[in-house]
């Protein structure tokens, strides 16, 4: 085990520095995690889908940001900023924490004569401590020099203003904190800023800028003295994934920045790792060996168990378990559970290859049904002769896809060889778990999890978590929320439920009809709530659209992580109707309308961008009938979430991922029960829209 870990660690190191750096001048990031100069933004955009994690230290101010290039032109940033020594001059808390969102849109891409032009909103929904709006233009001159000029409002309009073209900037009333500050946008003094980037070598860049941010807030608090509008510094690019910056800021401060730059589209390993598949087994020509095609074997009593055993042996090397096998002389249907391979298409390909070795020659049709939580997610029908013909053909992925049909899984065939002793029913794991609650806040702990399949689709599972180290809030005080404390007593759960029972449930998944999926989960659903949760989903295999409904009855659990319900006398019926739409190119939208945990009524909109390799980055916002005052500083529930597959980073063939949800502010409004195994995400992987983008992996 330690060896594996060491290898994994080394692999990550190698992986992150393995690819050659691009020769062109990088579109670098600034101290705020946005594309830009040092403290000012630029007109450029990152490469599509670039995911960056930035940390900047500016004296007593720390800015940690996560940025994502949502489309080629649109990008977003989530920032967690801490001002330490906040009480230097004005008494109060010794630090101030603020979470903010930016959005920026590139209006013009750079051309021969036209500069890149970007319009941006910085910190557009919070208390306004970091709010700015800007227009920035950037033009490259040759391969080494880049000039930027822009106009800023808000903080970026606070020094060297040239007047207020769109009128005065009204103060931001406290009641508007957390909602889009539309009244402030582009109001008040506008001030120009400018800067230059010069590429010294492939690794080193020099930057200098004239900043239009007067640092009024920081001067007022005695944190940063601003003597000069000029900033300059050097940046060092280490491989394609890391960039460091060291700067002189405002004549008085030294600032440091680190950027981790990840490209979800490109595996750190350069390609899909894992051993080659076994070749397809070719059948003898029917004319040469007609006897091989005789279907008489079907009547042999021991054929089923033997075939199943041989298939199980072959598929085990790919982490695929057989849940069922049924056959006639000409058709075989195999129900599989893929535990390791991260792409549906590849799991299907490997299964088809195994079938070509094991099934007698008379079997011409392979029906492969991937099963998730006991539910058949889809049925992929492959003609065996196509498999044989196309194995070495050019563009065999597309050619095979044209001849394959993907349909509803349908019911389990009557003649199934259901020897369930052949797949593992009991599974357990003890793993380190990283729970991230903010870009630089989280807990590292150990999670012991186990599950037992009573029969396919009926699963008993549980998990216990023990924190090892971390810096999440654990003061154990009750929150001052005026709503039922369905989420805001988080610090109590963190403090007292350690170790704590995270989950203990009995879940029943089934397929009541074509295109319909259902789930009932009973027990300790999550660390704060227990009860019963029922869900139904309608999702045709080839449909972009899906509809679901969920109803839950839950009681709030004690904060000690045990089985009791004494601490809070709170129970509630919640439920949602959900619509899902796959816009294509990996963009998924979801709308949930219903009743939330605190009894509030409202809706959640979310948009995610998913990648074939398992990366996922998304944002969500919930508006309910809870007032912004009741909700707290955040105004309404909103945040971002991302999932990074470990196989992308390390090449290890695994379905494990690292996922985090980061909110601007946790309130009690707009909260939903966090139940495992929600249907849409469970089955989506094996539907057409998810199988098709990386279908080429069927031959991997």
């Amino acid at each position: 085990m330690p060896q594996t870990r060491l290898l994994a660690l080394l692999a990550l190191g190698t992986a992150l520095s393995g690819l050659p750096a691009a020769a062109e001048m990088p579109k670098s990031l600034n101290l705020n995690g946005a594309t830009g100069l040092i403290d000012m933004p630029s007109g450029e955009a990152q490469e599509d889908a670039r995911f960056t994690f930035s940390t900047a230290l500016i004296g007593p101010v720390t800015r940690s940001s996560i940025s994502f290039q949502i489309t080629e032109r649109l990008s977003g940033t989530f920032r967690f900023q801490v001002w330490r020594d906040w009480d230097t001059i004005i008494p109060g808390d010794d630090k101030f924490e603020d979470r903010s969102f930016d959005l920026r849109y590139q209006i013009l891409k750079e051309g021969t004569y036209v500069p890149a032009l970007t319009i941006g909103l910085q910190d557009f929904t919070s208390e306004g401590k970091f709010s700015s709006e800007y227009l920035a233009a950037t033009k490259n001159f040759g391969e080494r020099l880049k000039l930027t000029a822009g106009l800023g409002w808000g903080r970026m309009g606070s020094y060297g203003g040239i007047g207020a073209p769109f009128g005065d900037r009204p103060a931001l009333p406290e009641s508007d904190w957390g909602t889009p500050n539309v009244d402030q946008w582009f109001r008040g003094e506008a001030a120009p800023f400018a800067g230059v980037e010069y590429k010294i070598s492939d690794q080193w860049t020099f930057k200098a800028e004239y900043s239009s941010d007067d640092y009024v807030l920081e001067e007022e608090r005695g944190l940063i003295e601003r003597d000069s509008p000029f900033n300059f510094g050097f940046e060092y690019q280490r491989g394609p994934n890391m960039r460091y910056g060291l700067y002189s800021l405002y004549g008085t401060e030294v600032a440091f920045a680190f950027h981790l730059i990840l490209d979800p589209k490109t595996r750190a390993t350069g390609g899909v790792m894992g051993a080659a598949p076994v070749p397809v087994k070719a059948r003898p020509a029917r004319t040469a060996d007609p006897e091989a095609y005789d279907g008489g074997w079907v009547t042999q009593a021991d054929a089923g168990p033997l075939l199943r055993k041989n298939l199980a042996k072959r598929l085990a090397s790919d982490g695929i378990a057989i849940e069922n096998l049924s056959y006639t002389a000409t058709t075989a249907q195999i129900r599989i559970r893929s535990n390791r391979i991260d792409a549906g298409a590849q799991a299907i390909g490997r299964t088809a290859r195994a079938l070509s070795h094991v099934m007698p020659a008379s079997v011409e049709t392979f029906e492969i049904v991937p099963v998730v939580n006991g539910m058949g997610a889809s049925k992929v029908t492959i003609r065996r002769s196509d498999l044989e013909q196309l194995e070495y053909a050019a563009d065999n992925g597309s050619l095979l896809r044209q001849r394959v049909t993907i349909t509803d899984a349908g019911p389990l065939p009557a003649n199934a060889v259901g020897d369930d002793g052949l797949y593992p029913k009991f599974r357990w794991s003890l793993k380190p778990a990283l729970k991230l609650s903010e870009p630089l806040k989280g807990d590292v702990g150990l999670r012991l999890a186990a599950s037992y399949d009573i029969r396919p689709g009926l699963v008993l599972s549980g998990a216990v978590y023990k924190r090892v180290l971390g810096n999440v809030d654990r003061d154990g005080a009750y929150s001052d929320s005026t709503l039922p404390h369905v989420r805001t007593d988080n610090s109590r759960y963190s403090k007292y439920a350690d170790p704590g029972l995270e989950q203990l449930t009995l879940a029943w998944y089934s397929r009541p009809a074509t295109d319909i999926y259902s789930r009932v989960t009973l027990g300790y659903l999550e660390r704060m709530h227990a009860g019963i949760s029922g869900e139904v989903l309608w999702k045709p295999v080839d449909s972009r659209f899906a509809l679901g409904a969920e109803v839950n009855y839950t009681r709030q659990r004690d904060t000690d992580g045990g089985f009791g319900f004494d601490e809070y006398d709170y129970d509630v019926v919640t439920g949602h109707v959900s619509a899902y739409y796959d816009f294509g190119n990996g963009y998924l939208g979801q709308l949930d309308v219903g009743k939330y945990l605190a009894g509030d009524l409202g809706a959640t909109v979310s948009l995610d961008r998913v990648f074939a390799n398992g990366w996922r980055v998304g944002a969500f916002a919930t508006v309910t009938d809870v007032s912004t005052e009741e909700f707290g500083d955040g105004g309404f529930d909103k945040g971002i979430r991302f999932t990074i597959p470990l196989t992308w980073a390390m090449g290890t063939e695994t379905r494990q991922t690292f996922a985090a949800t980061l909110r601007t502010d946790t309130g009690d409004g707009g909260a939903r029960v966090d139940v495992d195994g929600r249907l849409y995400e469970s089955i989506r992987e094996y539907h057409t829209q998810s199988l098709d983008p990386d279908w080429g992996r069927v031959w991997r």
Partner: protein, 226 residues
């Protein structure tokens, strides 16, 4: 703990997440991939690390190789310092798949590379010239390579290629000289060019240098034992 060291710690944790349980994931193939060819094949000849430092275990003699009594191909990938002797794992008509014992395969149609698996940046399939086309001095053809590209989507590279028969050349493989005809296949597309080279001995491609993929570069193949 500084922010950066915290981040490093977080990354380390990310790397460590593969832990114990009943469902094991495969050990990281990154390390394996780098040395994959060298390690687990019939015999190791020389494994240079990426840095170029040569560790040279005694190279086997032709007699030792022939003792196995089976066809053997030598595969060298300069970009990853891999060098291995590989054997046949599948034969379907003109297509022969050669494989290392630890799961890397090369499929050749009449000696022309059409697929690889297990390298990571693999060649998934190819529209490649026939041996007949490669014998035609001045002949032209289109070559199409298919890969899993960004976000695992199938991507292609299409080249226009010209064949040039360069004439006779003697090639020595493990102490045995072969009289061959050297053929080059120059392929261009707007973004760049590649050159595949073949040394033909009768109907056999005795030796070749063929392009695999952007990150893998070229592979050198020598047919040691027929």
């Amino acid at each position: 703990m500084s922010a950066v060291s915290r981040l490093t710690a977080a990354l380390a944790v990310l790397a460590l997440l593969a832990a114990c349980g009943s469902e094991k994931s495969e050990p990281s193939p990154m390390g394996a991939a780098v040395g994959t060819l060298a390690k687990a094949t019939l015999s190791r000849m020389s494994a240079r690390r990426a840095g170029g430092e040569a560790k040279t275990p005694a190279a086997p003699s032709r007699a030792e190789i022939e003792k196995y009594g089976m066809p053997i191909l030598r595969a060298v990938i300069p970009s990853r310092g891999a060098d291995a002797l590989v054997t046949i794992s599948d034969r379907k008509g003109p297509v022969v798949t050669w494989s290392t014992t630890d799961g890397t395969t090369f499929s050749l149609r009449d000696g022309v590379l059409i697929q690889t698996r297990g390298l990571g940046p693999d060649l998934m399939s190819a529209r490649a010239p026939s041996l007949g086309q490669l014998r035609q001095n001045g002949g032209t053809h289109q070559r199409v390579y298919y890969f899993l590209g960004a976000d695992d989507r199938t991507t292609t590279r299409t080249y226009d290629c010209t064949v040039q028969v360069r004439g006779g050349e003697s090639v020595t493989i493990f102490g045995r000289a072969h009289a061959t005809t050297r053929v080059t296949e120059e392929c261009v597309r707007p973004q760049g060019r590649i050159t595949n080279e073949f040394w033909l001995e009768g109907a056999t491609v005795r030796k070749s240098r063929q392009w695999v993929s952007g990150l893998t570069g070229y592979i050198d193949l020598e047919r040691v034992v027929d």
